[in-house]
């Protein structure tokens, strides 16, 4: 399965976890979207470092883009494949959802 498909599945799974699994519903909160806006800005910068310097390189067969590492276009945003943004969204949402969920558990056990 391509990185494109896997990343989209990751997002669907993370939203399902937030909405129904842990019932944290961060994706309906202003706090989370504002947090994500800040995080994605820094993600684009730091991921640009990792991909622009070719620290991480991607198999052209599994991404929308190809082996050409360009700043914009060809399925890339500041050198990184757009799939990385999708992957990042899932990772950040899962992290924040688990954090809020574990806080509720902590409170309930006191």
């Amino acid at each position: 399965m391509s990185y494109t498909v896997l990343a989209l599945l990751g997002v669907v799974a993370s939203i399902a976890l937030d909405r129904w699994g842990l019932r944290t519903r961060l994706t309906t909160s202003r706090t989370w979207w504002l947090s994500y806006a800040i995080i994605v800005f820094f993600q684009i910068l730091t991921n640009g470092w990792l991909t622009g310097r070719r620290i991480v390189q991607y198999n052209p067969d599994v991404i929308i883009g190809d082996s050409e590492v360009v700043a914009f276009g060809r399925g890339r945003l500041l050198f990184a494949p757009v799939e990385d943004l999708v992957f990042g969204f899932a990772l950040v949402l899962t992290s924040c959802a688990v954090w809020v969920w574990s806080g509720r558990r902590e409170k309930a056990s006191v």
Binding site: I55, V56, Q57, L91, V100
Partner: protein, 121 residues
């Protein structure tokens, strides 16, 4: 050893270096909740780390040997594993920072209660 070796590590240091100061700046008290933070890192990071290990083996992506530390764990450079520790941590700190600012940032009139944990958001 060339500085190039630390190129990936430098990115992780940058993430922590810019985010950790938010803890004292906003009085986040995350230090007292380190156990919960650890749980979050393990639960949220592990599935993504497993994904990473599998697709690295499948050849979805690879790492420049000159710009990462020399050893490998499960085929990954240590930085890539630390990535799944650092990113959950900086995400949570950012989230808590935003939550604190929204709560105390002078927009009290529009603050809503979180339906789940009862906290303002």
């Amino acid at each position: 050893m060339s500085l190039e070796r630390f190129a990936y590590l430098a990115m992780l240091v940058f993430c922590l270096g810019t985010t950790l100061p938010l803890i004292p700046a906003f009085g986040l008290e995350l230090g007292r909740r380190w156990r919960r933070l650890l749980l979050t890192v393990v639960l949220a990071g592990t599935p993504f780390l497993i994904w990473d290990v599998l697709v690295t083996h499948a050849g979805h992506w690879w790492f420049d040997a000159d710009q990462t530390l020399t050893w490998r764990i499960g085929g990954l450079p240590p930085e890539e594993i630390l990535f799944f520790v650092v990113i959950p941590i900086v995400s949570v700190i950012t989230f808590e920072g935003v939550r604190t600012v929204l709560r105390h940032g002078g927009i009290r009139a529009t603050v809503r209660r979180d339906p789940v944990d009862g906290r303002e958001r």
